[in-house]
Structure formats: C-alpha cells, structure tokens
Assembly symmetry: C2
Homo-oligomer: 163 residues x 2
DNA sequence: TAAATAAGATTTGAATTGAAATATTCCGTC
DNA sequence: GACGGAATATTTCAATTCAAATCTTATTTA
C-alpha cells in the first residue's frame, strides 16, 4: 500500500464539488467521534472497551487465535493487540497458552467468563446503527456500503498492510 | 444526545441485512485505520500530526481562537485540545495569549512559522479524498454524502454535544 | 456584600494506536 | 552444526482521546 503523503495542492475554485467534500470529511469525523464516545461509555458500564470487545468476539466466532490473527480480524497492529490482551487477561477474560509446536506462537483463548461475556455482550457499535439500518430498504443499505467502499478505496486501504 | 449503551440484542437469522451491517462496520474501521496510518506518516515527514494540522488550519481559516472554539472546529473535547496546543507551542507554531477582558479565556494565535506551515501544509487526509472524488460524477459524490449522513443521523450525532 | 454557581482551561489517569527496537524461535543454506 | 535471515510476540515511546477532578475567574443569587 502506498500511503504516501502527497505534495500540497490546496483546493481551488476549480475543484468542482468542494463543499461536498467538506461535508464528507465532516461526516467521517462525526462517525469517528461517535465511535470514540461509545467506547468510553461501554468501558464505564461493562468494564470492557470496544477494542477489547471486538477481540473477545473475534475469539468467540473463530476459536482460539494467536495475536497476529487477532490483529487481522480487528484491524490493528499486533503491538496494539498485546496491550489489549494484557488487559483482558488481567480481567480474567482470556488466557495466553503456549501449546503450539512452534514456540514463537502463543494462543489466546477465552475463559469461561470470557465466553459468558461474548454471549451477553453489548454490540460493538451503537445499537442505533443496527436498528437504524434495519429500517432501511436493502437497496439503501447497499448504497451506504458502496459509498463507504469508494471512500476506503480512495484512501488505498483496500489492501491493508498485513504487517 | 443520548449515547446510551443499550441492552444486548445480538443479530439473529431474522435480521435481514446482517452481512451488510458487518460490511459497514468493517468499512468504518478501515476509514479509522487509514486516518491513523496517515497521521503517523504525516508526523514522520512533516513533524506535525493530523490533529495538529487540523488545528493549524482552523486557526488559519478563522483567525485566532480560544481552545474551546478549536475543539468545536476539529470535533474533539477541549481537554484534547490542550495537549495539541502544548505540542504546537513547543514547536513554535502557535502562541497562547491572554488578551481577553475575560481572564478565563486564552487565545491561540498562529506564529509566522505557523502561518508559513498553513500555507505550505501537507494535505490533511482530505486531499486523498478530494483527488479521488474529482474522478467521480457528482451524482456518486452525492450518494456518498447521503449514505454518510444517514449513518450519522442514526447515531444522533447530528447534535454533537458541545461539552 | 457573601455565597453559590457557571464557564474556561488545565491536570490527571487510563486506553488505544502504530513505529521502531528487541528478544525468541524457526528455517534455510553453507 | 553454525550462521543469516524470517517470523512471532513483546517492549518502549510518543501522540491522541475522553472523563473526571481541579483551578481560576465571572456571574448570579440570596
């Protein structure tokens, strides 16, 4: 992936849809802030943050995984996963196992408490989005997906570096 | 805004567009990671991060502002702004002024170096989107805006809490 | 006027994030 | 078997983010 910083080229009067672009940037920033506020709230009420919850759900859906795999599922670097696992382990929700023939690999496994949490967990994003989308005709949902996909494609994260 | 964590209601087979919802969550996560990778790269090449740059641009476009106003422009809480200003001040790009009759208020002002940076600034993440969007017909851009707006509307972040 | 309240900025503390450096282990080649 | 490189996990470091608490200053109320 080429994530290169480009040479400055400030928008001019000739950039056709400049206001629309501003609107898009603005909406993206809103999405991200909503996400951030939600994870803080989650943490207060359930003592588990969104990244931690995503990690738990990845393990619940896929079985025990090494950190490198978790990183791919939840789309963060593996150095980030280490910290998340640390905190989940402190809470007794996961355990680190060294049971692979390859002794570089460790396996992260849900404890019983971790499985219980996975079953009763709040959704990893606002229920509002899920509920809101349920009320839309499938065509509109597809439109949203198309739009987002175009954006991520522009950002060249289609092929996220696997590290 | 009520951003409350709602009672768990895991999606079931009866949730029609479940995979599409997952796809949406996935794409949002991608947007976030793209933003994060970009800001690291920016920081390495220009010694200024994306939030710092956005702060500089907000000041450039609107003139000197107090931290509380900057927070609104770049959509973060004001305690976050304090840290950003600290680092910009250390780099000599902005200065804190106490020139308001209300002595609680401080004003952040660009230095000459700060103005130079604003003029020659590397593009914030926007530029990639701008360049990408230039190649799309206006109708598709509007589609993207519509989709994002629907999402943020669902989150009821239309009225982001001002703090 | 005195006390309570509000507003603006900051401090503190915890979590996330990724780059870079560091171990540890494995694997191929010599 | 020894060495060099690749893979896996971790550590370290700096930046961002927000909530909550704190400090200072204004404003309102009693």
């Amino acid at each position: 992936m080429s994530n290169n910083v480009q040479t400055p080229s400030r928008a001019t009067a000739f950039d056709a849809p400049h206001d629309l672009v501003k609107e898009i940037i603005y909406q993206i920033r809103r999405l991200l802030q909503a996400r951030e506020l939600y994870t803080k709230e989650l943490n207060k009420k359930y003592q588990v943050s969104a990244p931690q919850l995503n990690c738990i759900l990845a393990l619940y859906e896929n079985g025990p995984l090494p950190p490198s795999q978790i990183a791919k599922y939840i789309m963060v670097k593996s150095s980030t996963v280490t910290g998340i696992i640390d905190r989940l382990e402190q809470k007794g929700l996961v355990t680190r196992l060294r049971n692979s023939p390859d002794r570089r690999v460790i396996t992260i496994e849900l404890t019983e408490a971790g499985k219980r949490l996975a079953n009763n967990a709040p959704p990893p994003i606002q229920q509002k989005i899920i509920d809101g989308l349920k009320r839309l005709p499938e065509g509109e949902i597809e439109e949203i997906v198309r739009g987002l996909t175009k954006l991520t494609y522009m950002l060249e994260v289609q092929d996220l570096p696997v590290e």
